[in-house]
């Protein structure tokens, strides 16, 4: 597992898995979309609009997952002086930002027909908007300082401060009254979603994970090369 903390080993490992991961993400995305559009049923309440969920929920999960990865790498990089952690942070921040943006846009398109509004300032929507702004600030930090050693540390500390937003997003629907409904899947009890709708959701989530890994491999490799040439 040393490829997770060492640039050289990462490069070797990434070259092996890149093609399979790329093929897998394309195949999974096609299969997932076929399931989402043709093989899954209409919801009893929302009709066909429920299909937005198959893009909205995976991108929401991925936006949180990306930030979680950045948080872990920030702790390790700062505490154990591990340069690869900073490289990963710089590389994946834009990926997380894009997932957050997809989540916000698809949620907005879903909100208009269902709730009757594109956007409200309830706790869930606001905290996700804050997550997007945090991602933007991290990206700006990563491009604003001349000195790599300085900017990567500032970015990592900022990531740690911003990580407080993750539990707020997760539990916002339980702690406060929100227009957004509570979680369907993460409850300890049986998920309140039918298996025929769970299948496309899971396929799409795995597809999004593999798409994220594909872009991350490319961006991390680029970042490694960029830093070698400074």
């Amino acid at each position: 597992m040393r490829f997770l903390i060492n640039s050289k080993r990462f490069n070797v490992f990434a070259d092996i898995i890149f093609k399979p991961v790329l093929v897998l993400s394309i195949v999974l995305l096609i299969v997932g979309l076929i399931f989402a559009f043709f093989l899954s049923p209409d919801d009893y309440q929302q009709g066909s609009t429920v299909r937005i969920m198959y893009v909205h929920v995976p991108s929401a999960w991925l936006s949180l997952m990306t930030y979680l990865i950045m948080t872990v790498y920030s702790i390790i990089a700062l505490a154990f002086r591990m340069p690869f952690g900073f490289i990963v942070n710089t590389a994946v921040a834009p990926i997380g930002a894009i997932f957050t943006l997809v989540c916000i846009i698809s949620g907005s398109l879903w909100g208009k027909p269902m709730w009757g509004t594109w956007w409200v300032w309830d706790a869930r929507l606001t905290s996700v908007a804050v997550l997007f702004i945090i991602y933007l600030i991290i990206i700006f930090i990563n491009i604003s300082f001349e000195n790599v050693r300085v900017r990567e540390k500032i970015a990592a500390i900022f990531i740690l401060v911003g990580s407080i937003n993750l539990p707020i997003i997760k539990f916002s629907v339980d702690w406060w009254n929100t227009l957004h409904q509570p979680a369907t899947i993460s409850k300890l009890s049986k998920p309140s979603i039918d298996p025929s709708m769970m299948t496309p959701l899971i396929i799409m989530t795995i597809a999004f994970i593999f798409i994220g890994i594909t872009i991350a491999i490319l961006r991390i490799k680029t970042e490694i090369i960029t830093r070698e040439n400074i």
Partner: protein, 145 residues
């Protein structure tokens, strides 16, 4: 203790402090963060006549009246208390009796709420429409979906 574990300890301590500070802020401003009041959370202290607020709950069964083509009145309930709501405008597709809704508007007096905007709230349950009709046919459809 080696330097790297001192740094790790420092990071963890800072994180705990940040979390504590944030939680204190959120806990003490929770009334303002909540998007709406439920009928039971409303009492004489926070009912302010003619002030814009949001209330939320379920549309009470058998309370919906269509006064004219775009004027409606209904009651919003949380099973304990309920509030009488007047609304003129377009209702969202999901709006129906038994369905969750959030209403933005103001109290005309302590009993009557004038709605400016109505949002439908949907729950976290997802089910194919074919199963719903099966459940209805077999008489198992009694849950408040």
């Amino acid at each position: 203790m080696s330097l790297r574990y001192q740094r790790l300890l420092l990071i963890i301590l800072s994180l705990i402090l940040i979390i504590t500070a944030t939680m204190l802020i959120l806990y003490n401003t929770r009334e303002n963060i909540s998007y709406f009041y439920t009928p039971s959370e409303l009492n004489y202290s926070n009912i302010k006549i003619n002030k814009l607020i949001r209330i939320g709950g379920f549309v009470e069964k058998n309370s919906f009246n269509k006064v004219s083509s775009s004027t409606f009145n209904f009651r919003i309930t949380d099973d304990l208390n309920s509030i009488y709501v007047n609304y003129t405008g377009i209702l969202p597709d999901l709006f129906r009796e038994g369905q969750g809704a959030v209403i933005e508007g103001y109290f005309q007096n302590e009993k009557v709420f004038n709605a400016k905007t109505v949002f439908a709230k949907h729950d976290e349950n997802y089910m194919p429409s074919s199963i719903k009709s099966k459940l209805e046919n077999s008489g198992y459809w009694n849950k408040n979906y």
